[in-house]
Symmetry: D2
Subunit: 364 residues, 4 copies
C-alpha cells in the first residue's frame, strides 16, 4: 500500500511539491531491454508544459527531465536501455517565485484542498498548492513516456472534446488537428469557438470545465481481469487521480444508461483476416474488464479551475469568515493541460496490465 | 497485488462462480471488537436478492450467508464480535439448474465477456456467466454490511435515479420511498413511469440501462489522500468493478465540465456550532481526494443487460458466424440490483480509508 | 496490504481458526490451464495430518479438502483445470471437542501468543489456539499443492535434520528414507535415535525443538530480484510465518559467517552441456536475491512446543499470578509436522516469483 | 507490488546504482507533524560511511543527504516537519572513478550476482556492482533515521557479535563500547582480537563473515499479527534484503531448536508496577508474531565478502572459462558496515507495524 504510487508490475511512485527543490518519480518494473531516451520523455513533457499559449498559466518551467538510475547507454546517440532496476526521473523546480504566501497560508480557498489538508494532516505546504499542485503531473507524463515503450504497437492519444457547454463535432475529428491548436482539439472549427470563449473567460477572471477523451490503439486483447483488476477499473482510478477530475467513463459511458440492449450490443463477424471483428465499439474496447483488441476509449470530466478573480466567501484556519480572491498565474481551463496527463495515465495502466497478463498467462 | 481483492487496511477478497458449490469472501482487517450479526448481513443480502419482483431475474437464491471465522459470540442473541482475524463469509449456491449450456459453451454472446475470457484465459467457465456472474456481487454486499459497522455514525444509502432516458425529479427525493417500490426509486411518480416502461421492455425481450446514486453521510473529514489514494479514486475503482458499469462520477461529475468557477465553488462560512460549514456540495464531499465532512455523493452508469431475446450477430470459438439469442432468467435492467451493491462498495471504501487515516495520523 | 495473505502474482489468503466451522484459503493467480486434482492436494494434506504416529498430537482430523471455485473439470477422472479465477479451498473442522476452555480463557500460557493477542486485539478466540493454531497450516499445504503444478519441472522436498541436539549424519542422506519413518528423517539411524529420545520427552510431558531443511530442485535461474523482492527474502518471510519458527537460513546460512571468501566461493566452470556449472552450492541456489538454477536450500528452526505438562509461572488477564499446565493433545515436537508446511511455503514462493519473472521479463 | 519497496503504511522505495548520478529513496507514510532534520539523518549515514577505518572499503563518499520534498521548516534551526506527503531523500554519487570496468563487464565473479543478473535481465550495469552495490544501503539508513522518529520512546541499536569464528563474550556487553571501536563491537577485548584477525585477513586479500545483533527497545506490546504480517516475519524479510545476508533469527533463534519446552518458556509474573513482567526473553520480544513489550532481538549472518584477491575459477558471458581476481577497494568484512543498516531495517519494520496497529485497532 502506498498513498503515492500506482500500478503493480509497472509501478510508479511520485514525490514533490510545487515549491520544493525538485519533483520526481520512481518507475519500477520496466522490462529490461526497453529502450527510450531523455529526449523522448522530454517531448511529452513539452506538450504538458505551461506558458505555451495565453490559455494556460504563465508560470514558466523548463521542466527538464533527468534519468538518474536504472539504465545503461544504448548504441544510438542518447538512447537508454532499461536494466530492469528502478528508473528515477527528476525535474528541478526552477520558477519558485519567492512571493509572499502569507495571505493564503491560513485561508481556505473554496474548491481547493486547503481545508481538507488541514483536516487530514494538521500541517500543510500552502506554497503553490503543495502536493496538489498540477506540477506533480509532470512526473506522470514522464513515467507515461516510458510506459509507451513497453507494449509493442501501442499508441495512446488524447484530445479535448468539450469546453464548458461547447462540444466538438465528432464528424470532423482529425487527429492531426490536435497538434495545430492550443487546445488539443481534433476539430478546427470548434477550436476557434473555444478560443473566443476562453478569451472572454480569461478576461473576466473566471474559469470553465472541460472533457478529455483518451484513445489507446494497439492494446492487445486479453488485458485485464473480470472484477477487481479490471482494465477499465484501473483506467478509471488512474484518471480520477488527476487533479480536478470529477467523472470518468469508458466507451459510451453514461450514455449507455439510455440505450437498449439492442443498441448497445457490439455485434461480431469474422473479418477478412479470419479473425473475429467487432462491428461497433460501444464498449470502448473493454468487455468484462478485459480488452477486446479494439481501441480503448475513456473520457474524463475536469471541473473549472477553482482559482478565480471573483471573491468567494470562505473561512480561515482561525475560524474567521473571510473573502478569498486568487491572484496570480492560473489556467482558465485546467482541462487543456490535462490532455497529455490523461494519455500518460492510460499508457501506464495498459503497460501494467500487459505485464500482469504476461505474468499470469505466459502470453503477450 | 491480487486480481480478486480490494481495499488495503480493510481488505476484501472474493471467490466463486455462478455455478460452483458456493461463493464467498474473506474480509481482512475488521477492527477487533466490531460487532455485527449474520441477521444484519442477511438484511442487506435480501435487498439485493433476485426474484423479488417481475423486474429482476427469476432465479431463486436464498443467499443465506454463514460466518465461518474471525468472530466470537457476543452477549446479545446472534451478536458476533470480530476478533481481528479474517472473517470468512460464505453463501451456498443452491439454484444451479442442471441445464444444458452446450449452446453457449463456444458462442460469444455480444456484450458479454465470453470472447475476452477466451482471449485472456483460453479456458472459461461458461455456466451462468462464470466469474462475471452478478452472483459474485452478493459477497460484496455481505462485506459491505461488515464495513458499515466500522465507521461510527456512517450511513450509506443508494437510489436509482434514471432508467433509460427517464430520470427522477430530484425535488421529490424521499429516502423512505426507496424501500416502497421495486426500483429503489426515491420518487414515487417516476417509479410508476418506470414500472410501465420496464413492463414493455421485458415483454419485448429487450433491456435498458440505468444510473445509480450513492450517498454516504457521516463520513468524517480528512479521509483520503491527495493523489493516488484519493477517496474518490477508490470509490471510482470500487464502483467500476461492478458488472456492466461504464461510468462513475463524484458530486456534480460530468456536469461540472459545463460550469464556471463561480458556479462550481462551494463557499464556506462559520456555522452555528462555530465550525466551518459548506454552503453547497458541488464537490460531492471530496476536495483534493480528501473528505470534507459533507455527504459523499457518487453516481454510476449501468449499461443495458446484454442478454436479450432479439438475435444478434456474433461468432463462435471455432470461427463460425452465428446468431445469438439469450434465453433464460435475466434482468431487463441490471441497474436495479446494482443499488445495494453500490452502497456496499462505497461503504467498503470509506471503512478502508477510515482505518488508513487512523493509521497514518493517529486521529479518527 | 493484508495481514493474512502472502505472495503477489500467486497470492494466497487464508482464514479460519482451530475451533470454527471450517478453515480455508483463496488461491489467486493460478495460471489458466494449470491442472491438478483434489486427490493430489489431499496427498500432501495427509502427510501433514496429525495423529499418524505417537509423536504428533492425537487430535483426529480427516482434513478433507474441497475445491469450491476456479476450476472446470478436466478430461481425466478427478482432474481439475484452473480457469484463472480464484480457487477457494476449504476444510471442515470436524473434531472440535466441546471441551471446557474456561481454564485457559483468561490465563496466559507462557510461550503462547495469548498475552500478545490480548495486547493487540483486546479480544481473543482462546479455543484451541484460535488463529495461531497449527490447524491453519493445512490450508497452506493445500495451496502449496497447487503451486507445485505451476513451475514445470519443479520438485520441492523437505526433511527434518535435527531434533534437540541430535542432528542427522548428512553422509547418510536418503530422500527415500524420509517417507519411511514418522519424522521425515532422511537418515534411518538418526530416526531411531530420535524415536527413543522423543519417547522420553513425551513421557515426561516435555517438548523439544527441531530444524527442517527444504530443498527445491528445478527452480529455473533468474527468479527473484536484487533487493526487496529477493527470492531468499520471500522464502525467509514465508518460512518465518510458520508457527514457532525462530530462525531461517539459506545455503550455508549462519555457518557462512565463519567462512573465508575462498571457502564460501561457489566456483563456476563450463559443464558438459556447454552451460555454466557451479562446482559447489554454499549460496543455496540464490545469488544477489536471484536463483542460480542450482537447488534452492533453506533451513528453519522450530522452537519446542510451548504446551508442556510441567507447571510454569504466569499471570491471567485479571492480573493474578497463576501456574499454567497444559493438558490435552499436543505434539512433543511441532517441528515434525512443520516439514510438509515448509515445503509448501517454499513452493508458493517459487511459483510466485516464476510468474513475476515471466511478467517482468517475458521469459520463463 | 514492487521489487524495490518495503513496508506498507510506512513504505520506502529505493533507487539508484553505484555508478549513476545519485541514489535515493522515497519515504511514504510518515505521519504529519513528525520532526527530524538533515543533520539527524546525516549522523546515521556517517556511521555507515565507508573509509573510516582500514577495515572497510577505502572508497570515499561524503554521502551527504538532501531532503527534497514532504517537509515544511520547523521552528528550530534545521528542524523539518513532515507534512504527510512523500519525503524524497537523495545522495549524490561523487566518487565514481572513471575506471575501466571492461575486465568484469562480461566475467561472472563467483559469489556475486553477475551471473544471476544476466539470467534474469539479460542486461546489467556491471559498474561497481550496479543495483547490488552496498551503496544502495545508504538510502535505507536515511529512511531508518526518519522511522526512528515515528514511534515514541523507540531505541534501536545494533552490534557486531561475531567475526569468523570469534564471538564476543556476552557477559562483557557494553553498549557504550560500540562507538569506541571500528567494529561496532560491544566487548572491548574481542574488538582487539578482531583487529588482529582482520589485519591478517586484509593483508592476505581474503575476507571473512560476521554476525550482527539488533536490539529494539521501547517497542510497545501488540505490534504485528499472528501469521503473514508477523513482526518477526517482516524483520526477517527486511534483514534478508541486506546484501550478503544468509540467515536471520529472532530471540534464541536456531539455538531454540536445541531447548526443551521448560528451558524455552518465558515465564511471567506481576511486576512492581502491577503489569505483567516476563522473567526471561528467549522469544526475543515477539510471541505469535506480535510484540510483547520486551526488547525485540534479531540476529543476522553476513557471508564473507565475495571480492577477494585469490583467483577463483569462473566463466564469462561468452562461455569461456576464466580466472577472476577482484582488485579495487573492498571491505574484508562487509558485516561491519551492515550494523547501522540492520538497525535501520528493524526501525523501519517497527515504524510500519506501529502505524498498521494504530490503523487496525485505534490504539498506540
Amino acid at each position: 500500500m502506498s498513498h503515492n504510487s500506482f500500478g503493480h508490475l509497472f509501478r510508479v511512485t511520485t514525490w514533490g511539491e510545487s515549491h520544493g527543490i525538485a519533483i520526481g518519480c520512481v518507475v519500477d518494473g520496466t522490462p529490461p531491454g526497453t529502450r527510450f531516451s531523455e529526449a523522448g520523455i522530454q517531448a511529452y513533457l513539452d506538450k504538458r508544459r505551461p506558458g505555451q499559449s495565453r490559455y494556460t498559466t504563465q508560470r514558466q518551467e523548463p521542466d527538464q527531465v533527468r534519468v538518474l538510475s536504472g539504465v545503461m547507454p544504448g548504441e544510438a546517440e542518447g538512447e537508454l536501455v532499461a536494466t530492469g532496476t528502478p528508473i528515477a526521473l527528476e525535474i528541478q523546480n526552477t520558477d519558485q517565485r519567492s512571493k509572499d504566501y502569507s495571505d493564503i497560508a491560513r485561508r481556505y480557498r473554496p474548491g481547493h484542498a486547503d481545508i481538507t489538508y488541514d483536516m487530514k494532516y494538521g500541517v500543510r505546504d500552502y506554497r503553490g498548492g503543495g502536493r496538489s499542485s498540477a506540477r506533480e503531473t509532470a512526473t506522470r507524463v514522464a513515467a507515461g513516456a516510458v510506459a509507451r515503450q513497453i507494449v509493442p504497437g501501442l499508441t495512446v492519444r488524447a484530445a479535448l472534446v468539450q469546453i464548458g457547454t461547447i462540444a466538438i463535432d465528432r464528424s470532423r475529428w482529425d487527429w492531426d488537428e490536435v497538434d495545430r491548436n492550443p487546445f488539443f482539439c481534433p476539430d478546427a472549427e470548434t477550436a476557434e469557438r473555444w478560443a473566443e470563449h476562453l478569451d472572454a473567460v480569461r478576461k473576466s477572471g473566471s474559469s470553465v470545465g472541460a472533457i478529455v477523451e483518451v484513445v489507446a490503439e494497439g492494446v492487445p486483447g486479453g488485458l485485464g481481469a473480470p472484477i477487481y483488476a479490471k482494465l477499465d477499473g484501473d483506467i478509471a482510478a488512474n484518471l480520477m487521480s488527476i487533479n480536478a477530475v470529477k467523472g470518468v467513463e469508458i466507451g459510451d459511458g453514461f450514455a449507455a444508461a439510455t440505450l437498449s440492449g439492442e443498441e448497445n450490443a457490439d455485434e461480431i463477424r469474422i473479418g477478412p483476416d479470419g479473425a473475429p471483428q467487432f462491428l461497433t465499439n460501444h464498449a470502448g474496447g473493454i468487455l468484462g474488464g478485459i480488452s477486446t483488441g479494439q481501441p480503448v476509449v475513456a473520457r474524463f470530466a475536469v471541473k473549472p479551475t477553482s482559482s478565480i478573480l471573483t471573491p468567494t466567501r470562505s473561512v480561515d484556519a482561525d475560524g474567521n469568515e473571510v473573502d478569498v480572491m486568487t491572484k496570480g498565474r492560473h489556467d482558465p481551463c485546467v482541462g487543456i493541460r490535462a490532455v497529455p496527463i490523461g494519455e500518460a495515465m492510460v499508457a501506464c495502466a495498459v503497460a501494467d496490465h500487459y505485464l500482469r497478463h504476461r505474468g499470469q498467462t505466459g502470453r503477450g
